[in-house]
Symmetry: none
Subunit: 118 residues, 2 copies
DNA sequence: GCTGTACATATCCGACTGGTTATATTTCCA
DNA sequence: TGGAAATATAACCAGTCGGATATGTACAGC
C-alpha cells in the first residue's frame, strides 16, 4: 500500500463519529468488544466491523485473552495524520494572526472614542 | 450540523488523495478549476465534484472572477482536525511511552478488566 | 448577435459503507 | 459434556462515493 493510500485509509477510518468515540474510550485503557459496544445503540456485529476498520487502518491492535479480544489504541497511525497536517499549520495560525490584527484595530478604534460602552 | 458531524465531514473530505493533492496545490496560492484539473487524468466534472466536497467541508472557499471560480485554501477546518488530534499526541510521542505503559500496568493490576457491563 | 471558454449540473454506473439479522466459532464453567 | 458468553462471519439492503459522458449556463471578445 502506498503512503497516500495508507493515509487515506486512516482518515476515512477517522471520518466516523462512532469510530472516533471508540478511540476516545481507548485512551482510558484497553477494552473488550462488549465494553466498547456498551455506549452505543447499534448491534455487536456493527461494532466488530468498526473495529476491523480501525485495525486495518492501524489505529488499534488486538490481543487474545481467552474468548476476549482486547483492543488497544495505536498512536502511530495518528502520527501520520499529524505529520500530514503539520505543513498546513501556518494556514490556520495565519488566519488567527489576521483575526488578532483585526481585533487590535477594532480595539484601537474603540479606544479613540470617548464612550467605550454601547 | 453538530460538531461531530462537521469533523466527520472534514475528515471524509480529506480521506481522498485527489482532494489532498488539490489542497497541497492551493498552499501555493489560489487556483482556477482548470489549473487544479491539469495534474490529474480525470474529467472536469470529477474535479468540480471534489471541489464541492472540499467547499462543503469548509476546506476551501471560492470567489467569482468573470467565468472563473478561483479556489482558496481555508485553514480553519484543518485546525478542527488538529485540535481533535492534539489529546492523542501522547500516544505517539516516545517520551511518554514509559509513563503510559506504567499507568496501563497499574490499571491492569486493579483486575476485573473485562467485566461485562451489560 | 455568435463562438469559444470555464465551469456547473444531470444522469448513470459499479464499488464501497454502515447498518441489520442469522449463524458459526471459541472458550469458560457448572 | 453441554450450555452460556464473547466475538466473528455471512448475507443482505439502502445509501453514498467517485468516476464517466452529455448537456446546460455564464461570461469574454469579436
Amino acid at each position: 500500500m502506498t503512503s497516500a493510500d495508507r493515509l487515506s485509509t486512516t482518515l476515512s477510518a477517522l471520518a466516523d463519529p462512532t469510530r472516533r468515540a471508540i478511540l476516545a474510550r481507548l485512551t482510558m485503557g484497553e477494552a473488550s468488544v462488549n465494553e466498547l459496544l456498551a455506549p452505543f445503540s447499534i448491534s455487536q456485529p456493527a461494532i466488530s466491523k468498526h473495529l476491523k476498520v480501525l485495525e486495518r487502518a492501524g489505529l488499534i491492535t488486538r490481543g487474545r485473552e481467552a474468548q476476549w479480544r482486547p483492543c488497544k489504541l495505536e498512536g502511530s497511525a495518528l502520527k501520520d495524520v499529524a505529520d500530514w497536517l503539520e505543513p498546513y499549520r501556518r494556514f490556520w495560525e495565519e488566519r488567527l494572526d489576521r483575526l488578532d490584527e483585526h481585533l487590535r484595530q477594532l480595539q484601537a478604534a474603540k479606544g479613540s472614542k470617548h464612550d467605550q460602552r454601547k
